[in-house]
């Protein structure tokens, strides 16, 4: 379980540009939940993910995973339990390393990077099997550098790599936003399958309202650092795109757009 309690976050604190992102923000995510987060730009979606991952510091409040306080844990240490896929497909892979080398790196996540061989030859079949799961034919291109793959292929690999070792949370940061509609669809389906099969607790930020409605067991809409919609279970299942869209328009009018 992930618990954010009384989070305070200001940007440019102490200057004329001071902006309050979160004020007394609290949220609980229980194990096995798949939370879709929507909201307009600047509503605090990505800030929320960055706070969970430790990419940006907090002004006040605490974060706990399964009761352990991780507020002061550096980002790289938190990543042992967290897998993250970024909007930019280039962020999740090493372009100048081969597919096999990338898979080996991901396989060693959280372990000691010592002087043993980087690629364990006995694991190659396992990597092939994992790659064939993507259905993109990457299992036959193990020695190809990831840099020559398309954005969609790289994002699929990034998803696979971030979920290869046992993790407690999967963080998806608009991970389909940079892809063409058809590729985005494929990646989204893949995401659904990975999350189901590995029973991952997932937080997905998206601008695609349809994905937010179709996927996930809980839907959250952020606005000015607060959750203005938060529905789970049957309520979530009953929600329609139109409902969210109406709420979106409401906010926009308030903001004078």
């Amino acid at each position: 379980m992930l618990e954010l309690s009384h989070i305070e976050k200001y940007y440019h604190a102490g200057t004329v540009n001071e902006m309050c992102m979160f004020h007394d923000f609290s949220m609980k995510i229980t194990e096995g939940e798949f939370v879709s987060v929507v909201g307009s730009n600047g509503s605090g979606k990505t800030s929320l993910l960055n706070i969970i991952c430790g990419s940006i510091p907090l002004d006040a409040g605490t974060i706990a995973i399964n009761g352990t306080d991780i507020t002061r844990m550096p980002e790289y240490r938190r990543q042992k339990r967290i897998g993250r896929v970024y909007q930019n497909p280039a962020m999740g892979t090493c372009p100048n390393m081969t597919i096999l080398e990338n898979m080996s790196l991901a396989d060693n996540k959280g372990k000691l990077f010592d002087l043993r061989w980087g690629t364990n030859k006995r694991r190659i079949d396992f990597y092939r099997e994992q790659l064939s799961f993507l259905g993109l034919g990457l299992e036959d291109k193990l020695d190809v550098k990831v840099g020559v793959l398309s954005g969609g292929q790289r994002q699929a690999m990034a998803l696979l790599m971030s979920t290869m070792t046992p993790i407690e949370f999967l963080i998806l940061d608009e991970h389909t936003a940079a892809l063409d509609p058809k590729t985005a669809e494929i990646i989204m389906e893949l995401t659904g399958r990975v999350v189901r099969e590995k029973h991952l607790t997932t937080i997905m930020v998206t601008h695609n309202l349809r994905y937010a409605v179709e996927y996930g067991s809980r839907l959250v809409m952020m606005h000015q650092g607060t959750m203005i919609i938060d529905k789970a279970g049957d309520e979530k299942a009953a929600i329609q795109i139109e409902d969210i869209l109406d709420k979106f328009n409401e906010i926009s009018i308030e903001c004078g757009n």
């Binding site: 550096p74 980002e75 790289y76 240490r77 990543q79 042992k80 897998g83 993250r84 970024y86 280039a90 962020m91 999740g92 892979t93 090493c94 372009p95 100048n96 390393m97 080398e101 080996s104 790196l105 991901a106 060693n108 996540k109 959280g110 000691l112 990077f113 010592d114 002087l115 043993r116 061989w117 980087g118 690629t119 971030s162």
Partner: protein, 294 residues
């Protein structure tokens, strides 16, 4: 013939330096100016040890570790004290100038009359006189190849993978639950170890330590790496480390040609700089053509 041997000798010494610069410049993408301090540091350490009659082969290892220590300090300044990469190198380079003088005791130390890895009683006994003129170049070739093979092997280990990942995509290193700062420090340590090792070999081959040998070491290293990786690898497929060694020899040939055409020895740094500029312009021109096609 003696000119060719001379070019090969210098080329191979600077090839070891270039292997170090390859790690920082190409793999880590870190412009490491501390090389200008760690190269003479290797020489200073060697001159000091050899005047104290330390076994010459042992100085190779001691110089490597001295350089690695200095390199890790550059990394510490950059990572922990959050100083920009270029400035961390400049700070280290400047500090090392004085430290090198302290180590060596003075700005010039001659070790002509001492035993070195190239000139000792053991070699005198074992090597027939006919091979003698080529002994230095053969030894240098062996040392350079050993360095290259060790680096190639290291880059295939888990630690080596992580080093490559750190230069390629820092975010991924964090995603792998590893501290990217530590990876950089390790990379800088290994790189400067190689650089100081080159300084050690340089000192033993020339028979003296001279404080100004470091000036422009980074430029020579970068030129070697860029010639190697930009020019050679386009034609024939080969390991980057191999191309860096070849690049180093080509670069020395160019310098030798310039000198043969009537430049004075005191013009050497000017030649070095001009050639480096020329190579940069040529290689970026090629790069632009490629990206225009893409």
């Amino acid at each position: 013939m003696s000119i060719i041997i001379g070019v090969l000798e210098e080329g191979l010494i600077y090839a070891v330096l270039a292997l170090g610069v390859y790690i920082t410049y190409k793999i880590l993408d870190f412009p490491d100016l501390s090389v200008d301090g760690t190269f003479p540091m290797g020489a200073a350490v060697t001159a000091m040890l050899i005047t104290k009659n330390v076994y010459p082969a042992a100085t190779l290892f001691i110089a490597f570790f001295a350089g690695a220590f200095a390199g890790s300090l550059t990394g510490f300044i950059h990572v922990k004290l959050k100083v920009r990469d270029l400035l961390s190198g400049i700070i280290m380079m400047t500090a090392l100038y004085s430290i090198n003088l302290r180590i060596a005791g003075k700005a010039n130390v001659a070790i002509y009359n001492k035993e070195t890895i190239f000139d000792n009683a053991f070699l005198d006994r074992m090597i027939p006189p006919a091979v003698k003129p080529y002994m230095t170049v053969i030894l240098l070739l062996v040392i350079t190849i050993i360095c290259k093979v060790i680096l190639d092997l290291y880059l295939k280990t888990r630690s080596g993978y992580l080093l490559r990942a750190a230069g390629d995509n820092e975010v991924l290193v964090t995603s792998l639950a590893k501290n990217k700062g530590m990876v950089k420090i390790v990379g800088l340590a290994i790189a400067n170890g190689f650089v100081a090792l080159a300084g050690c070999i340089y000192c033993q081959q020339k028979g003296f330590f001279e404080i100004s040998t470091g000036t422009g070491a980074i430029v020579i290293g970068l030129a070697n790496v860029i010639i190697g990786t930009k020019v050679f690898r386009r034609g024939i497929p080969m390991k980057a480390t191999t191309s860096v060694i070849l690049g180093s020899i080509v670069y020395r040939t160019c310098v030798a040609v310039a000198i043969a055409m009537g430049m004075a020895a005191s013009d050497l740094k000017l030649v070095t700089a001009a050639l480096f500029l020329f190579i940069l312009v040529i290689s970026s021109y090629k790069g632009r053509k490629v990206s225009a096609h893409a």
